[in-house]
Symmetry: C2
């Protein structure tokens, strides 16, 4: 489990660096599909990851802040770093197989509640980030730039 | 490990069904980014998955067939099913933690050889499919259709 999280964090950092090489207008531009833009996608990835982890820790999950308050590369990067060190990394590195079946209650934005297993949520977070990063790779080509490699191999994660 | 493979297989099947609802020209159309089209992407996902698994089984990996020989939904679906039952599924369901560190030799198309661990390759296959499916979700919106949900939750995989 941890290795796929490490992969996601490494790829995300690569994309933050990639964003530095692109005019800000290109990463802020509204695009077709996904959550609608490069930086907004990175913001959404960070938000979903820490929100689920706060939920698994039994802590209060704050409302998603509006993206417009974070609409700069610097702010999204800080947002990612802050929760990574405070919440995400400690939880992922403390993960043990016996946490797999522990249940948690989720209430979605429409007020509907569901019960999930923690293992299921961990895989949901993993797939969520990889999926959205795939979308960035299309938009990178639209911008005319080579996307970050999605390879898991050759990243020192063996 | 198995659950993320099951997720990928379920999502892939959903996309094959989605393709049935779209004019064939839309799934064959050359697009910007990735391997360049909806059906070509599904073909590439199947090819990469079974090729790595044949390699891990120590079997000869055939050359990638040209996509133009498989450029219909029916053929790509059959291609996926055939290798799924013959090669992929048996290997994934026989996976045990002790297979993680076993090494394999890979020779890429330029003739360069690399040594990988099997656990690394399994995660590479998983991330590879999820990443490319993220690309399909953008193209679905370009076509004007709702993409398949990428959620891991609510798929009965807990």
């Amino acid at each position: 489990m941890q290795k796929l999280f490490q992969y996601n964090w490494q790829v995300r950092e690569d994309w933050f660096n990639w964003c530095e090489t692109v005019p800000e207008a290109d990463i802020l531009k509204e695009r077709v599909g996904g959550v609608g833009g490069v930086l907004h996608t990175l913001f959404h990835i960070v938000d979903v990851e820490y929100s689920w982890i706060l939920n698994m820790k039994g802590e209060v999950v704050p409302d998603v802040p509006p993206f417009k308050e974070y609409a700069s590369l610097h702010k999204v990067r800080e947002f990612s770093r802050e929760y990574h060190h405070k919440v995400v990394r400690p939880f992922v590195y403390s993960w043990k197989d016996e946490m797999e079946k522990k249940t948690l209650l989720d209430t979605d934005s429409s007020g509907q509640t569901s019960i999930y297993k923690q293992g299921e949520i961990m895989r949901h977070i993993l797939a969520h980030e990889i999926h959205h990063i795939g979308q960035l790779s299309i938009w990178a080509r639209e911008i005319g730039k080579k996307p970050i490699s999605a390879n898991f191999i050759d990243r020192g994660l063996s």
